[in-house]
């Protein structure tokens, strides 16, 4: 696991010095502190920051083919590299290292651009083909590893994180993207290839992008979650067995590393599943890592203890309270490179610090299970609403809403009538392409109230943008599958795997691996009928069935608890951090120019009076604060660090 960065000249450019590449990769040193490799000629510059996991001695990058005509840098893991390597050797390829990286160049020689389809892994790849005078960017199917790019003065720049691009050249414009902020304040993430910075794009998950002398080509999709496929006909027993076998294999592949591998344990079903499979089907010495919260509302330590005892793991935990969250939050924003509407990434930042402290570089987690196997409350809510909409006058059916959200169930009659209105139960599932998400997004729109008229693009509609981006994928799909697709492509890819996943782990040089996101598991889950994902309102039914003899009953029967961390409470409790007053001051708001000062100040006053607030206030406050911090770090006070000499480097000049 690593960081990658570099550039490709589309026009003849003055010979750039190595220091440009050094600046870029130095900004990513948290991703790969073990060494820096460079390749440079008159056309390209490639830089690689290395975190040694596989082939500790030979895993240097960039790496090339026998003829030195194809060069590659890559961030991530190819889990089936041993199998691929064996096939390639049979076809006459000669390998000079034992690393998974070398498989990429030979596979590209064999298959051309389609080589990505053979890979089982999590990756961002840059392949330089000297004969074709082109580079190819590729990103894994689900978006586990990031890749960003921009075009500036005849040069195409790319990097694992945007900070590498901004470090390359001081003339690269740095400005907040109003449309992306409008998106984030609706969906929690930008739509399509946009990022929060104008002119900087992301390569989409499951896509490749070719750049050559002709220019930057259109991103090409090589894989997508296909929910239109015919549903599996097998019995629940057979399918549960198949799921288990697939997960065992996905776990086994992800334990391939030349360093020890640990696991995150939240206390929920998904991470418990992964931990149990490691315990039962591999010989990995099992270390587990958890977050515990001082505030009982967020804490799951009892459930964690249960599974630790059951599986007898060597367990470690990091304690979070309002203060530790507030202290770490600016660093979290620096690493996330995106406004966040919750502090929830922060405990994961602290958790990766704990993992690193124990000398571990790799952890397996349960991420992805909720999306592909139907775990979210949002899916349940859509199902209940759809059920009510068939008989809108039934008061019995409306009572089901209270089972979903206990806070509505203050008394039998108390909110049945409100609940029906809140959940728009008179709308039928097929009347709205975004049936499952519309209510959540409407809530998000509340946040637009805080955006300055002078800053936003008033003719831009986030809803129109997302419709354009998703409609072809969602048409003719059942509402439950539509919900799954949106969740997997929007929130999972752009928030959970990035702001909360890759960035928080890599901030401490820790690599997350996700067995549920093995594409074979994702494809299997896509074929499952809804009743096996959510039976009644019993979420992830098939997974519970598959794991029935490998987990304690309390974990299997536990209703899913959404992962959350204290938001406003962290910033306006007993010990408010100094920076909150600064970033939310009238002058700081005026300088950034993104928000309506008086509206924000009214919200701040409300939070000061009482730190325990509703969902919307929490989202608004954290969203505004993180946007202000982001502006300060990346726009107003951007700082490029460059040491006199980089430690442990290898340079190839061609």
């Amino acid at each position: 696991m690593c960081g990658i960065a570099g550039y490709f000249n589309l026009q003849a450019s003055p010979e750039p010095s190595l220091s440009l590449l050094e600046r870029m990769i130095w900004s990513l040193r948290h991703r790969g502190p073990d060494g820096f490799g460079f390749f440079q000629n008159e056309q390209v510059g490639l830089a690689h920051a290395r975190l040694s996991i596989i082939d500790l001695e030979g895993g240097w990058q960039p790496i090339c083919n026998e003829e030195k005509t194809i060069w590659v840098i890559f961030n991530g893991e190819i889990f089936n590299y041993l199998e691929l390597r064996e096939q390639l050797i049979k076809r006459g390829h000669r390998f000079t290292t034992n690393s998974d990286t070398e498989v990429l160049v030979h596979l590209y020689e064999e298959k051309g651009e389609n080589f990505v389809e053979e890979l089982n892994g999590q990756f961002a790849i840059i392949l330089y083909d000297i004969r074709r005078c082109s580079i190819l960017l590729a990103r894994d199917r689900m978006g586990i590893r990031p890749l960003f790019y921009t075009f500036h003065q005849g040069r195409f720049f790319f990097g694992s994180e945007i900070k590498a691009i901004f470090s390359a050249d001081a003339t690269i414009p740095r400005a907040m993207n109003p449309c992306a902020l409008q998106d984030i304040f609706t969906f929690w993430s930008p739509v399509a290839t946009e990022t929060i910075f104008q002119g900087v794009s992301q390569l989409l998950p499951g896509h490749t992008l070719k750049v050559d002398r002709q220019g930057i080509h259109v991103q090409r999709q090589y894989w997508d979650i296909d929910l239109h496929v015919e549903e599996s006909a097998g019995s629940p027993e057979e399918l549960a067995e198949e799921l288990r076998e697939l997960l065992i294999d996905a776990v086994r592949l992800r334990l391939r590393a030349d360093v020890p591998v640990g696991a995150y344990l939240s206390g929920g079903l998904d991470s418990s599943t992964i931990t149990s499979l490691i315990r039962h089907y591999t010989t990995n010495p099992l270390k587990t890592f958890s977050v515990v919260f001082e505030d009982k509302v967020y804490d799951e330590r009892d459930q964690q203890a249960l599974i630790v005892d059951y599986l007898n793991t060597d367990h470690h935990q990091v304690a979070c309270n309002y203060r530790t969250i507030a202290d770490a939050f600016p660093k979290v924003v620096y690493h996330a490179e995106l406004p966040v509407l919750r502090t929830a990434p922060t405990p994961l930042y602290l958790l990766s610090g704990l993992v690193r402290h124990h000398g571990y570089k790799v952890v397996l987690t349960g991420e992805g299970a909720d999306e592909i196997l139907g775990g979210y409350d949002l899916f349940k809510e859509a199902k209940v609403r759809a059920f009510i909409s068939r008989q809108p006058d039934s008061s019995y059916r409306a009572m089901l809403l209270k089972r979903l959200y206990p806070y509505l169930a203050l008394s039998p009659t108390r909110s049945a009538s409100y609940a029906r209105q809140f959940f728009a139960t008179d709308i039928t599932p097929d009347a709205d392409l975004f049936y499952s998400h519309q209510l959540r997004w409407k809530n998000g729109e509340f946040l637009h109230r805080f955006l300055a008229d002078e800053f936003i693009q008033s003719n831009y509609s986030p809803l129109a943008a997302i419709t354009e981006s998703f409609k072809d994928k969602l048409t003719d799909l059942h509402y439950f599958k539509r919900a799954q697709y949106i969740e997997s492509r929007l929130l999972l890819g752009n928030y959970l795997l990035s702001s909360q996943g890759d960035r928080m782990a890599m901030a401490h040089s820790v690599e997350g691996r996700y067995p549920f996101l093995d594409h074979r598991v994702v494809e299997f889950a896509a074929r499952l009928p809804m009743r096996l994902k959510m039976k009644g309102i019993n979420e992830k039914y098939l997974l519970k069935r598959a794991m029935s003899d490998l987990l304690p009953r309390e974990i299997l029967n536990r209703t899913k608890q959404p992962y959350m961390a204290p938001d406003i409470l962290s910033f306006f409790g007993a010990h408010p951090p100094d920076y909150v007053e600064h970033f939310l001051s009238e002058s700081a708001l005026r300088d950034s120019g993104m928000f309506k000062n008086d509206v924000v100040l009214n919200l701040v006053a409300k939070c000061r009076k009482k730190a325990r607030q509703g969902f919307r206030e929490n989202m608004a406050l954290v969203g505004i604060l993180s946007t202000q911090i982001l502006y300060d770090l990346f726009i107003a006070n951007w700082l490029v660090e460059h040491p006199d000499t980089l430690p442990n480097t290898r340079v190839i000049v061609h």
């Binding site: 806070y407 008394s411 009659t413 409100y418 509340f446 009214n602 509703g614």
Partner: protein, 82 residues
Amino acid sequence: MQAYKDQIRAFIINNFLFDSEENTLENDASFLEQGIIDSTGVLELVEWLEDTFAMKVEDDELIPDNLDSVDQLAQFVARKKT
């Protein structure tokens, strides 16, 4: 009645809209349809009504017909206070 309306408007604007431009809220605008109040907001509103007007909101009174706009709220308070 006008006094109730002014008080209610001020509360809604300060607490849910955070806006100082008071003209953005119509007295007959539906809180639910316009997304002014969410589910936790209803509880906040009821708490405020009970504290401010020294009255008790019964379970069966907790319906949008009573609570969903400035006008409806003012009428509801006026009915309760007579």
